[in-house]
């Protein structure tokens, strides 16, 4: 009965040495946090993509830009504005302000508008790429941490074997088994993190290039407006 208790998952973990237990705890925490990031990032990125598609449809439907700007006012006041719409609002606000002053030349108006949109875009970039470095770190480092725990555990179990009289496989097997739990946990944390990182970084890149394209298109529209007016 005693042997069976030692071999259950909890028995293995509780009989491991302190360092191996610490490694396991660390890996468990890394796994939990990386899953938090994966879920949060996934929901954020899919929402951003949806709002981008939605906004572009409205933008190219031929409606008035002032109307479009006013539609977003309510949400902007609550501070829940992100994605491509915030770029649009930053550019449009700057554009109307410069136009109302009436003193600046068309080139100066365009320059100011583009700068405002660049600032908004870099803020968006920050938001989109947030937490991705953490996933990359977990994905590349946690196998090593798990491996370290395993090597340490096997080292100890072989050291114990040296003092034994009878070197049967039964005397080393539990130690090796408990040490291998650490590697399993490391891989368990790393695999989803790597997959999520690759997927999300590709999606973030696509989003950012879409933002950039939109900014270019928008500034060309404004450019036409400025030169038509003057």
């Amino acid at each position: 009965m005693n042997a069976g208790e030692q071999l259950s998952l909890w028995g293995l973990i509780s009989s491991a040495s302190l360092l191996v237990q610490l490694v396991m705890l660390m890996l468990l925490m890394a796994s939990v946090i990386s899953w938090v990031m994966i879920i949060q990032r996934g929901s954020y990125l899919s929402r951003a993509r949806k709002s981008l598609v939605n906004f572009e449809r409205r933008f190219w439907s031929g409606s008035d830009l002032n109307q479009l700007f006013r539609d977003g006012n309510a949400r902007a006041e609550k501070g829940r504005m992100d994605g491509v719409e915030s770029i649009f609002r930053a550019g449009f606000t700057e554009f109307t302000r410069l136009r109302q002053q009436g003193k600046s030349s068309p080139a100066a108006v365009m320059e100011g508008t583009e700068r405002a949109m660049r600032v908004a875009m870099s803020r968006e970039q920050e938001k989109v790429e947030m937490n991705l470095p953490f996933l990359a770190t977990v994905g590349s480092v946690s196998p090593y941490i798990g491996l370290f725990g395993t090597v340490w555990g096997i080292m100890n179990s072989f050291r114990g074997l040296a003092t034994m009289h009878q070197a049967t496989i039964a005397t080393v097997a539990p130690g090796i088994s408990e040490a291998l739990v650490a590697t399993a946990m490391g891989l368990f944390a790393a695999i989803p993190a790597v997959m999520a990182y690759n997927r999300y970084s590709a999606r973030a890149e696509w989003l950012l290039s879409s933002y950039e394209t939109f900014a270019e298109e928008f500034s060309s529209i404004l450019h036409r407006k400025v030169h038509a007016a003057s």
Binding site: L9, M37, S43, D82, H165
Partner: protein
């Protein structure tokens, strides 16, 4: 508006908790099945010990000898009959030959042959009787001796058992099972001691079927080399040592391995 962390944290923690729960239950269910045969090994050990004890103090040795003698007698009778038959056949053949040549000569020859055969038979009969008598006498003496020995043996049985167990324990302590050993393998070893307790020879009398296991047992015997318990018995009860311990048969059983 940057994606709330609350639901993500809840989902992640719930996911890990579910995974750990599944692992825990799945793992234990798998192991309960493997656990069941474990107590059986212990039982097996007890059974072998008992059987060994029976073998050492087995009284029906006299019976065995009796049976053997009866068997021998039967065999001898059968042999004699066969001999008779063969002789008769030879006679008939001779007769036929004689008829071809001459009747008178045949008659004479036949008579002579008959005479010879009868003499031979008489002589054989006598011999047989003598031998039987002798054998019966010796068997009786042997049985008597055996009887005495047995009564003594039962007195000393406990001592012998304890010495045998001590020897077995000493050997098992240094016996390293090879990786190819499997539970349930049995090796019987005959060990010859000298009164100093030193092992002079050890032979495998019953192999386990695995050469590595057999070799590991003889290596273990060689490793111990000197058994102080044996030396003690030889000093205190030399006759017991001569009778029971000089050649000792031990049974080693591979058990308790996790496989």
């Amino acid at each position: 508006m940057n994606g709330s962390y609350g639901p993500a944290i809840v989902i992640s923690v719930a996911l890990h908790a579910a995974l750990i729960a599944v692992l825990t239950f799945g793992w234990e269910a798998e192991h309960k099945r493997e656990l069941k045969p474990m107590p059986k090994f212990v039982q097996a050990k007890l059974v072998t010990l008992e059987s060994k004890a029976q073998k050492k103090t087995a009284p029906p040795k006299v019976d065995l000898i009796e049976k053997k003698r009866r068997q021998q007698e039967l065999e001898r009778q059968r042999k004699a009959e066969a001999e008779k038959k063969r002789k008769a056949a030879a006679e008939r053949k001779k007769k036929l030959e004689a008829e071809k040549k001459a009747k008178a000569e045949a008659e004479r020859k036949k008579r002579a042959a008959e005479e010879r055969a009868r003499k031979e038979k008489e002589r054989k009969e006598q011999e047989r009787k003598e031998q039987l008598e002798k054998e019966r006498q010796s068997a009786f003496e042997e049985a008597l001796e055996e009887e005495e020995e047995l009564s003594e043996a039962s007195d000393d049985a406990a001592a012998v058992m304890s010495v045998a167990q001590a020897i077995q324990q000493r050997i098992e302590a240094v016996w390293s099972r090879p990786p190819s050993a499997r539970n349930g393998m049995v090796v019987e070893v005959q060990i010859n001691f000298v009164p100093t307790g030193r092992v002079v020879a050890s032979t495998i009398t019953k192999s386990s079927g695995n050469a590595a296991v057999d070799r590991s047992v003889s290596t273990a015997v060689k490793k111990v080399e000197v058994f102080p318990e044996v030396a003690e018995v030889a000093r205190e009860e030399p006759s017991l040592f001569e009778r029971q311990i000089r050649t000792t048969k031990l049974i080693f059983r591979v058990e308790g391995l996790r496989q």
